[in-house]
Every structure is written in C-alpha cells, then in structure tokens.
Amino acid sequence: MTNSRNITLSEAVNEAIAEEMRRDPTVFVIGEDVAEAGTPFKILSGLVEEFGTDRVVDTPIAEPGFMGLAVGAAMTGTRPIVDLMFGDFLFLVMDQLCNQAAKTHYMSGGKLNVPLVLRTNLGATRRSAAQHSQSLHALVAHIPGLKVALPSSAYEAKGLLKSAIRDNNPVVIFEDKLMYNDRAPVPEGEVLIPFGEAHVLREGTDITLVGTSSMVQVCNTAAEILAKDDISAEVIDPRTIVPLDEETILTSVRKTSRAIVVDEGHQNFGVTAEIASRISEKAFYYLDAPVQRMGAMDVPVPFSPALEDLTVPTSEGVAACARAAVRGEL
C-alpha cells in the first residue's frame, strides 16, 4: 500500500470515485448538481472535468426518476453511483430502491443483478431542521437485498465506497454530513474495506461501546473520558450494518460483559435495537448489566439549536451511561 496523507472525508469520497471511474468505464455518477457544481457540498468537484458530462450526469430534481433509471442502467451493464443530496430524500426513492433494486436479483432467480451504489448522508446538528437532518439507515437495513455501509472517517469513506462500487449488489452508503471536512490518514490508491468486518478502534476490558458513523467518535471520546475514571472501554465500529459483523461485537461483549450501542438514527425501532438485541440474545450468559441503547431522540429534528443539540447522543452521555453500567447501577 502507498503513502497515507491526511485528507478530508469529502476528498476521500472524491478520490474513491475517481479511482473507480478510471478503473472501470462502466461506472458513472448521477444526481442533482453533481457535475459543474460538484454537489452543494462540493464533494464531487473536479470529476466532471476529468470524466465529462457523459459520466457525471446532472439530473432534474426527480429522485424517484433517476433512482429508477439507475436501477435499469445497473441491470443492463453499467455501475451507477447515485448521488442523493440528503438522506431525507430516501423517502422519495424507497419504491425504486426497496421494491425494485433490492428484489430484482432474487425475483429473477439470480439472473439479473443490480450493481449500484446509492451515496447519501445522515446527521443532525447542522440547523437544517426536520427534512434535512434525518439518519434513516435503519430503514434500508430492514430490507433484504440491500447492503448498508456507514463510514466513520475519511479512511472508511474511501475504503467502503470503493468496495461498494465493486459490489454486485445495491449498496446504500451514508456519509456523515458533519464529517465532510474532517481529516484522517488515508492511503493513496487501493483501499478496499471488506463488508461485514467491524473495526476495533480501541481495546478495553470493562465495557463495549458499539458506535456507528457519527457516533464512533462520540464513543471514542467517551472512552477517553472513561479512561480518566479507570474504566477501560472497548470501542467497535461495525462499518457495515448489513452485513453485520456480529462475531467481533459478541467476542468483545463476552470479554467485557457490558455494552452500550450508540447510533444517530431514532432510537425506536432503529439500529440500536437490532444490535442490542443480538448482544442480549447471543452473549446472554456473559452479561453483567443490561445492554444500553442510545439513539437519537424520537422526535422530528427541531430547527432551534437550543433543542436540536438535545436530540443526539453525546460523549458525556455515553460516558455517564457506561459509568452506571460498570458501577452496577443499571
């Protein structure tokens, strides 16, 4: 592997796409303002200059339409990367994603494939209110036939996206909007993170913190806080929730005997429920405390900063919960 540089998550995404487009002429990008504008977040700047408007395709504001178009394109020999500007717009493409893309391979008895990537984002606290702040990954994770990746840093953003583009299934990848400018060391060139392999960011013995996407850093910071109290927390990032690397999580919890699952989606019927219930079931005899869940509050995301900041789990909150677990207060 080549040199690592500190690049932003946004640059990592851009690099992953550029590399894969150079490698495979059937890869193209489609979405709103992806070409000259390079998306409103400027993530795709420069791609149209290198690959032209045939491969970096600006669409009308028609999410169901271009999602459907991408499904058909993928079925017939191309590899579309669909750019969905905000994760909240998933609601518009659900039929094409979940009734069509996710089921085509199965319904055709294995004859048709839909190798597409849907890139979108999650994350609140940008003061963007209820329709531009949702973290909706739990919804797509519920639908068999879809894979779901949640990069937690620039490194994962590159490695998971490159794997997603080469995957022969429909993959939905959620980037954290708040992390686009965060830097991390990312190798130049080939970085492929296999799906279904969790990353243990930090080893520990007292409690396991499972965090996804934006919540990985929250967990990491919580672990640092806890270290000051001599509580040793293991931090795990599943990286993909479909497929989910259950083994790494279970192995950790069997060692620490306590766990907290932290995710930025709504808590109710969300990602924390799936992971927590798997731990509770499969590490049952190892648990010293009930597995705790910390999702976003079950409220539409409010605009007011005074309210919005209350809706998302924080490092302090996670640390407090971990302390209680370790002290046997739960």
């Binding site: 459907g68 394109a73 391979h105 055709s108």
Partner: protein, 327 residues
C-alpha cells in the same frame, strides 16, 4: 387492415400470427390452471391485446430490451420466451425462468431481453429508461420498449423519466397499452386531458395507433425503432386495445363496471387474431387450414408444457435464502 407498405415478408407475417396465437393459447391454459385450482395466486390475462405485444416485439432484435407489467405473459411470449419455462414459473417450479421465485407478476427472461414483469404499476418506467441510458452510455444501438397500461399514466414516475429521456434523447419507446380500464375503473375517470399530449408536452413525439391491428402496430414500431437507434428518440405510443378477461383471473362478475355487450363487441369485431387471419387468407398468404393447423400445433405445445410443468419439481427449500445477494 392497414398494410400499405408491407415491410415484412410472408414468413414474418406467419410468425406474427403464430406469436399472437401462442399468447392466446398460453393465457387460455393459464386461466384454466387457475380455474382448476392448480395455479398458486392470481394472474392477469393478456388475451385480446396480442397485437400490441407482437406488433412491437416483432420490430425488435433479441438484444433490444423490454420491460413488462403485471399483465406480462404476452410481452414475455412475444419477446421470445418458451412455454415450458413460463408455465414452470407460473406454477412456482424450479425450472421456471426465475426458479419459481418470481411467478407471473415477475416473470423475466433476460436471455431474450425481457427485463421482467413488475407488480408495481408504473414501476418499470425507470428501469426501461435506464436500459436505454445504458445503450447510449455504452454506445450500443439497443432500443428499449417500456410497456405499461393506461392506469400507469397516473404515476408521477412516468413524467420524471420522460423528462430525462427527452433531455438526453434516449432510445426508449414508451408503449401505453390503453385497454380502457385500470382494474375496475374506466380510463376516462382517472385520466384528465390527453395521454399523448402529456408526452408531447415534454417534447416527445407521440402517436396513437389501433392496438388490434398487428400490422399497423408493427409498421409504426419499425419506424420508431429505426429512428430511436439513430438517436432520434424517445417516442411515445398509445395503443388502443382491450382485455377480454377480468382485471385478473378471479374477476368474473364485471357487469358493474363494464357491459357484456362491450366485451362481445370487441371480441366479435376487433379481435386481433381473427382480423389478421382474415387478412392473411384474403392476401393468399395462408389458407384457413394453415391457420387452423398452426393453432392446433400451438395448443399441443402448450398442453405438453403445462403437463410438464405440473409434474416438474419445486425448488428445494434450501433455495429460499439463495439469490438475496449476488455472491
């Protein structure tokens, strides 16, 4: 019949006739399987609309693509599928086109360019447009035909993808099978204005054609396909047709939404097979005996396929979680 400029030769005519008969016979057998409780679930009969699927698909090559609907057997047969795999699919058998996983509403035959039936009304409009996108993107000269019913014109997706197809001159033909009804409702009660004008408003050339006249359909399609291959697409065609059966095989008492006389009139005076048969005889291309023999042949083929499918084995239970993901 309108055949001022016959582009096809005798063989083409006879194949078209045979394909229409094959669809009719396929549906008669499928209906029978339902009525005798041998088929799981429900299905939607294409009978009466044969000239649409055949007129269009006969203008396509094997590598041209189609997308189909819940009323999809006709498209599947017309695009080249064989009875055995089709009946196996309808009965949920392992040798079906989709290993029994799709059934009637999802039958697909990618070897002949049929990207599949769809149980979401209008659901395949994006897929068809995307297939046309691929052709342009990869520099192939394939054309895609998107079949859908009059009812599907109410789905917003259609306008979204027509807009893109028009902006990007994609080689796709939107083929609206206007059979006068969506489920139990007359088209005029659910479609305001004009269907062809809706396409035209997006700058798409639109045609209306008699969907019971296989030659008229074929002639128009040949022209549009040729032009689409040259990058002059997309096009829109509204094909005026009629379904003989109920909305689905279980829709038996339908007088409350359409009179028996109307059905009788279409069957009597506008049947696409009868009309084309009469024309073939009149032009001396085939005698009535030739045609009868073809019908008998086809019925025998269908019976053999049905018998085979009834005996064929179901997929093994272990297949249930195969094909969720590509390896």
């Amino acid at each position: 019949m309108n055949a001022k400029k016959p582009i096809s030769n005798t063989e083409d005519y006879l194949r078209m006739y045979r394909q229409m008969v094959r669809i009719r016979v396929f549906e008669d057998n499928a209906n029978q399987l339902y009525l005798s409780a041998k088929m799981p679930g429900l299905t939607h009969m294409y009978s009466g609309e044969e000239a649409v699927a055949v007129g269009i698909c006969e203008a396509l090559t094997v590598s041209d693509k189609i997308t189909s609907t819940h009323r999809g057997h006709g498209h599947c047969v017309a695009k080249g599928a064989s009875f055995k795999e089709m009946f196996c699919e309808l009965l949920g058998k392992e040798e079906g086109y989709c290993r029994g996983k799709g059934g009637s509403m999802h039958i697909a035959d990618q070897s002949n360019g049929n990207l599949g039936a769809n149980a979401i009304v209008g659901g395949s409009m994006g897929i068809a447009t995307g297939a046309a996108f691929t052709a342009k993107f990869l520099g192939k000269d394939d054309v895609t035909v998107c079949f859908f019913g009059d009812g599907a014109t109410a789905q917003g997706l259609m306008y979204e993808v027509m807009n893109m197809a028009a902006l990007w001159s994609l080689p796709v033909i939107y083929a609206c099978e206007n059979n006068g009804y969506s489920e139990y409702t007359k088209t005029q009660e659910i479609a305001a204005g004009s269907i062809t004008a809706r396409a035209e408003a997006f700058g798409i050339e639109a045609h209306q054609v008699d969907g019971q006249d296989v030659l008229a359909v074929n002639e128009l399609t040949q022209k549009l396909v040729a032009r689409a291959r040259k990058g002059e697409g997309p096009f829109f065609v509204e094909l005026m047709t009629y379904r003989y059966h109920g909305h689905h095989v279980g829709d038996i008492n339908r007088e409350y939404y359409r009179p028996k006389e109307e059905e009788a009139d279409w069957k009597e005076h506008r049947d696409p097979i009868k009309r084309f048969g009469a024309w073939l005889s009149k032009e001396g291309i085939a005698t009535q005996e030739d045609l009868d023999a073809m019908q008998a042949d086809t019925r025998a083929d269908a019976k053999a396929a049905v018998d085979y499918a009834l005996e064929a084995k179901y997929p093994d239970g272990a297949e249930v979680d195969m094909h969720v993901y590509v390896e």
